[in-house]
């Protein structure tokens, strides 16, 4: 891909230079001089016209060949012969990722470094576009349609991603992280995410009771086995994630802010203000923090 861009940039630079040199030559050499006669009449030259039709034609043919070769190399088959390694679903305005073993997560996708995963991409509401620039081509996530990409990182690390198709008010905030880790860590992560979170104790247990009283579960799943397609991100192991809402550091303070004033952090998101007391916020935050 980078090679293709370099080739393209070189071709474009050469063409621009040719045009610019010709234009500059014309305006320097052929500026009107006082008293000069009207220039010689010329209506064109068939040979020149054919030349500057044929040469660009050859150039675009060359670019076309490079394009098709690169496409075959980087693009996943759209009717794959095997089941995908994970399914990514765009929501207004967060990303859901589900793995066949039952692991579920939001805005944070884990992959094994050095192994190519086949990801199925779709959308729950409007069109989104899944884009992790360093790892894969971008692909539109379209409701009612399955698309496939290869997701691959050569080295372990945290890679940033974003939605790249305008999808409404929080399009700008629809970020995610792809975490590439060694195989062992990756499979441990998968196992942990697929297991139900440990039961809450103390303050967290109060939070869990509030969670069900306030019907938070209508939009947020807590158990990985809960496969309903809900409008809010799953919270099963929310405390294990790096970030909150795609952007914020996942600290207890930020978690409390999310619980208390969801519209301050991501204005427009689907979570209404809950009008909670300070004690309620504390309990719910404790519950969230216990979900590891």
């Amino acid at each position: 891909m980078a090679v293709l861009f370099a080739q393209y940039l070189a071709v474009a630079a050469v063409i621009f230079t040719v045009v610019a040199v010709l234009v500059v030559y014309a305006i320097v050499r052929y500026r009107a001089r006082p008293g000069a006669p009207e220039p010689r009449e010329s209506h064109g030259s068939r040979a020149a016209e054919i030349a500057w039709t044929a040469i660009p034609l050859a150039i675009v043919l060359g670019l076309f060949v490079l394009t098709v070769r690169t496409m075959a190399f980087v693009d996943a088959p759209q009717q794959p012969e095997r089941a995908p390694d994970l399914t990514i679903t765009g929501h207004q305005w967060w990303w859901l990722a589900r793995y066949p073993g039952g692991a579920v997560t939001a805005n944070e996708i884990h992959i094994p470094a050095g192994r190519r995963l086949l990801a199925r991409v779709d959308a729950a509401d409007v069109i989104h576009d899944f884009w992790a620039p360093e790892l894969a081509r971008k692909i539109d996530a379209i409701p009612g349609r399955e698309s496939y990409i290869w997701l691959e990182a050569d080295a372990p690390g945290v890679y940033q991603g974003t939605c790249s198709e305008f999808c409404g008010m929080q399009h700008a905030g629809m970020h995610f992280q792809v975490i590439a880790e060694p195989e062992g860590q990756f499979s441990a992560w998968l196992e942990r995410q697929a297991a139900p979170p440990s039961p809450p104790e103390g303050l967290a247990a109060d939070g869990a009771r509030l969670f069900s009283e306030r019907k938070c579960g209508d939009c947020h799943a807590v158990l990985p086995s809960d496969t309903r397609l809900l409008s809010g991100p799953p919270l099963g192991h929310v405390a294990s994630r790096m970030r909150l809402g795609g952007d914020r550091a996942n600290t207890p303070a930020n978690m409390a802010l999310w619980v208390n004033e969801p519209q301050t952090i991501k204005p427009g998101n689907r979570m209404p203000d809950q009008h909670l007391s300070a004690a309620d916020v504390q309990a719910l935050t404790a519950y969230m923090e216990s979900l590891r």
Binding site: M1, L4, Y8, V11, A12, I15, F16, V19, L22, V23, A26, I27, Y30, A32, E38, P39, R40, S42, H43, G44, A48, E49, W52, T53, P56, V60, L63, F64, T67, T70, M71, A72, V74, D75, Q78, Q92, V126, I127, D129, P133, R137, K138, I139, D140, P143, G144, R145, S147, T162, C163, E165, F166, G168, M169, Q170, H171, A172, H175, D247, P267
Partner: protein
């Protein structure tokens, strides 16, 4: 004042278009400034996300439909008759109607601010984001209705231009002698006639979805999120050329005059325009490369998209070759034309990047796209328009624009343009998506964005200098005389001159110089052909039904597209067959009526038309009784849409026939007959697809 409001004079209509566009240029410019202010630094809270989304949607829609389109039509309305030596456009009243449709559409679009919020789904309003569940407020209804009016106005103007060029050229003005601006207008108008109906079809379907709960674009009920994209871009890509071809025409007039040399390769110029027009219908999928469409489709559209660079390159080289060997005068008009060559080349070259599919998979929907199309539309069209304004202003007003202010105008605009948009290429490569109301504080992002905002301020100032220059020059400008640039096309002719070449005025001047006695008295009336002063309305109607047939074709395609999801239910083949025969028979009777001009045939046509409508009513009633409605299923949605639009056309035809009832000998009967026959043929197509 009343003279202006009710005018059908092409000069006044042209000026009105241009003033309207100038007003909305200021509005769209303010919107752009708001956007750039919000983006000047990361995480600013100058605009709310809602306000930002409305501002960028309105900025795009305004600049495309309320500024560039009307200003180009305005120039053409004013200049086209003069350039080909005609007294008027073929249909003066139609051009006035088109202008008022433009006014109505523009006002309607901006009324949305008062009616609960402007549209906020971007200028291409992708479904299902633009559907009621995700955009419940009425902004998008205003958007769709307004665009329908605007696009109808554009179609009417385009038809007017084509008939004018085809029928009203002065004697001697063969099609290979018309100025290149006229060639560009001809090709451009054909693009409008065939591309705009795709937009109309998409908008009609969206409105039916939104207001009548139909399901064209709602995947949850079986509709398709992709169909909107296909229809929109079938219109949208030709639209790009619609916005740039007249600019090519302007540059092709200006560069030769200020280089004192005829255009290099007239035939290749005209021919490459035709090539662009044909290719432009076959490249729309390059807007959708991020959709997983399969390698074959992607490769085919990559190839066609790259091909279109070739005829565009031919033009750039021909303009440059026109300058080489010339004697160049650096007026402000010429400076803008030269800048156009370079800036448009950058826009063209960045465009090739998107045709290279794997690059598109990174670049599309980033700031690289924003940079690209601003180099095309600002670096291309807008610079050409500045050049055209300096060149033709003396024609419009009798006064020259001030050249020293012109130089300020030029340098501020060109420097501002490159500062604003060049850095956006880099932002796109760094991964900044377009249409974000804010962005995280990543390395370089803040710095590049503040440069872009700073450039936008300079660009805004440069454009204001132009407005000031225009107002000042109207009052204090130097008197221009009829031919200030020593030009050679007919709009600069003070009196009628005969046409024997592409540069009649130039021939005329050389002739005058040769005869030392000076100017001969001209042969009177030779430029105005006068052949078609009141308009051959059949030609216009012919183009109109061609345009309409694209609209119906796309509705029928939509029916066919959704056929698999539950086919026709409860339709009456035999009875509808009989009613179809009635309508086809009326196609014959209306032809007889237009030939014999007898009331009996007219009456028969009206009767047969009414019988058909009755039959349609029966069919609708039968479906409604089985609870098949426009919102019940995709069959209902598509059937009622296509049949309903056809029925509306029959009603319109009946009204037109009734209108000529008192004067059956009217010349209007011929075009009405054509329209009626078109209506019956459309029904035949619908009948075959839906019933057979």
């Amino acid at each position: 004042m009343r003279n202006w409001l009710a005018t059908t004079d092409h000069k006044r209509v042209g000026i009105s278009y241009m003033l309207l566009a100038l007003f909305f240029l200021l509005v769209g410019g303010v919107e752009a400034m708001l956007l750039r202010a919000q983006l000047a630094q990361p995480n600013l809270k100058f605009l709310s996300p809602e306000a930002y989304d409305q501002a960028f949607t309105m900025h795009g829609t305004t600049m495309i439909f309320l500024v560039v389109t009307p200003v180009l039509i305005g120039f053409t309305v004013y200049l086209l008759p003069l350039m080909i030596g005609a007294r008027q456009l073929a249909y003066p009243r139609l051009s006035s109607l088109a202008f008022w449709l433009q006014v109505a559409g523009s006002v309607l679009l901006y009324t949305s601010f008062a009616a609960g919020g402007a549209p906020d789904a971007g200028w291409f309003s992708y479904a299902p984001l633009s559907e009621t569940p995700y955009s419940p407020h009425p902004g998008l209804d205003f958007w769709a209705l307004s665009l329908l009016l605007l696009s109808m106005g554009s179609i009417l103007s385009a038809i007017n231009f084509i008939v004018t060029i085809a029928r009203l050229r002065a004697p001697g003005m063969t099609i290979r002698r018309v100025p290149l601006f006229v060639w560009m207008t001809l090709v451009n108008s054909s693009l409008i006639v065939f591309a705009m109906p795709a937009l109309n079809a998409a908008l009609a379907m969206l409105l039916i979805d939104r207001r009548l709960n139909a399901h064209f674009f709602t995947p949850a009920q079986g509709g398709s999120a992709l169909l909107w994209q296909h229809y929109f871009w079938i219109f949208g890509h030709p639209e790009v050329y619609i916005l740039v071809l007249p600019a090519f025409g302007m540059i092709s007039e200006i560069i030769p005059v200020f280089s004192r040399k005829p255009i290099f390769g007239y035939d290749f110029m005209a021919g490459s325009t035709l090539a662009i027009a044909f290719l432009s219908y076959g490249v729309w999928v390059h807007h959708m490369f991020a959709v997983a469409l399969g390698k074959v489709v992607l490769s085919a559209f990559a190839a066609s998209s790259m091909l279109i660079a070739v005829p565009t390159g031919v033009k750039i080289f021909s303009w440059t070759a026109t300058m080489i060997g010339g004697s160049i005068r650096f007026t402000t008009a010429m400076l803008f034309a030269i800048a156009f060559l370079l800036e448009f080349t950058i826009g063209g070259l960045s465009g090739i990047g998107f045709a290279m599919v794997p690059l598109d998979w990174q670049l599309t929907d980033t700031y690289f796209v924003v940079a690209h199309f601003h180099y095309v539309l600002f670096g291309g069209t807008a610079l050409a328009l500045f050049a055209a304004a300096y060149y033709w202003f003396p024609k419009f007003s009798g006064r020259l624009l001030n050249e020293s202010m012109g130089k300020w105008n030029f340098w501020l605009v060109v420097i501002g343009l490159n500062l604003t948009f060049f850095v956006q290429h880099i932002l796109g490569l760094l991964g900044m998506p377009r249409r974000v109301y804010t962005y995280p504080d990543l390395p370089w992002w803040g710095a590049l964005n503040v440069i872009s905002t700073f450039g936008a301020v300079i660009l805004g100032l440069g454009s204001l200098v132009f407005v000031v220059n225009m107002l000042a020059s109207l009052v204090f400008g130097a008197k221009a005389g009829p031919d200030p640039w020593d030009a050679w096309t007919l709009e600069w002719a003070e009196t009628a001159v005969p046409v024997r070449s592409r540069r009649p005025l130039w021939d005329w001047k050389r002739e005058a110089k040769r005869q030392e006695s000076g100017v001969r008295s001209p042969e009177s009336g030779v430029t105005a052909s006068g052949r078609l002063e009141t308009g051959d309305s059949r030609a216009g109607m012919g183009l109109f039904v061609l345009s309409e047939s694209v609209f119906f074709f796309l509705l029928i395609v939509a029916y066919e597209y959704f056929r698999s999801s539950g086919g026709a239910v409860g339709l009456h083949l035999r009875e509808t067959g009989i009613f179809t025969a009635c309508l086809l028979a009326s196609g014959f009777t209306v032809w007889r009526a237009s030939v014999t001009r007898g009331r009996a045939w007219l009456l028969a046509t009206i009767a047969l038309g009414l019988v058909f409508l009755l039959g349609q009513g029966r069919e609708y009633w039968g479906l409604l009784e089985q609870h098949v409605t426009i919102s019940s299923s995709l069959f209902g949605t598509t059937f009622f849409t296509v049949a309903g639009f056809h029925a509306l056309h029959v009603v319109a035809g009946l009204l037109a026939l009734a209108a000529v009832w008192k004067t059956p000998k009217s010349r209007m009967l011929a075009p009405i007959s054509l329209y009626w026959q078109f209506g019956s043929l459309v029904w035949l197509a619908i009948f075959c697809v839906v019933y057979l």
